[in-house]
């Protein structure tokens, strides 16, 4: 894993990482931006998940709901990853040693996988049922799983703040 360790130490020793670490205002501002955009990611995905579960927006076809909110989700996700990345490089070694950080990354990957699986398998015959209020089991499973995963992502994110040794 030497190349990986080299990349980590290169990032951690970069001048950007140094600025985030040393400047009193930079870290809280980046963290606030991160929280704000994570809220938009989770809130907008929840709109889709609740539709898949048949709990809300049931008068709208699924594709109309996804078209309405996914641009917001993806835009917010990009900013959340960028701001999260800046916090990560400021203390990369300590974040990698934090179980909640690792769990958060794994959970985000699983949430992405859940989305891909639903998109390519569960939603193959979407036009056939997307107007129904009660959707087929795979759609409901994907929605329910997504809610659980994102709630866990937020919880892990908050727990990172309570378990990181001060820089």
């Amino acid at each position: 894993m030497q190349p990986f360790a080299d990349i980590i130490s290169f990032l951690e020793n970069s001048s950007i990482a140094d600025a985030v670490r040393e400047n009193d205002l930079l870290f809280p501002v980046i963290e606030s931006i991160h929280v704000l955009f994570i809220c938009l990611v989770v809130g907008s995905i929840l709109v889709v998940d609740l539709r898949l579960l048949g709990f809300a927006s049931t008068r709208w076809p699924v594709s109309r709901v996804t078209r309405a909110v996914l641009p917001l989700t993806w835009g917010a996700f990009v900013v959340a990853v960028a701001s999260g990345g800046l916090m990560f490089i400021s203390n990369a070694t300590k974040y990698l040693g934090n179980g909640f950080f690792i769990a958060k990354m794994v959970l985000i990957a699983v949430a992405g996988l859940n989305m891909v699986v639903f998109h390519f398998i569960g939603a193959r015959d979407l036009p056939k049922w997307e107007n129904d209020s009660r959707l087929p089991l795979p759609a409901r499973l994907a929605g329910g799983l997504s809610i659980l995963l994102w709630v866990a992502v937020v919880a892990c994110g908050r727990w990172i703040g309570f378990t990181m040794q001060p820089g």
Binding site: P28, S32, V42, G43, L46, S57, A68, A155
Partner: protein, 168 residues
Amino acid sequence: MVDAAILSDVGKWLAATSLSHTIQTTGWIIPALQTIHILCVAVLFSSTILVDLRIWRLLQRDVPLPDVGRRFLPLIWPVVLVLLVTGSLLTIGEPRRSLLNTSFYIKMALLAFALVLTGLLQWSLSSPEFWDKDRGRRIAGRLAATASILAWSGIIFAGRFIAYTQAG
């Protein structure tokens, strides 16, 4: 402005209650409350911003504005209640963290403004063409939507800054 000494006394009294003691000494309670609090902020902020972006005609142009408002605005009020409960419990658990903190009062002032604005927006959307009657109305609608986005963003910033601006 309330005297800082009175706030300090209120904080001491709160910190001495058994509820505060339980919150302080049970390690998982504060992060759990904060997690619920952030999840509720996620629902509230995403809901209002979807309406604000619809007013700007950036999202959901094919859905009438009142429909978007009806879908997303009524649900924020029960969520606000959960936020008040979790926020109050966090304040009871660590009274000095909030009561002697400028960020906390900025957050509360912005919250009062944002709640009134959101209530007015919700009311305005009950008449179908409210923000579309003439050019002036369209501009006013966009100003209101922008004020809403800025106010809720300010609340999130001030909320996070509570952790960084605590008195001693």
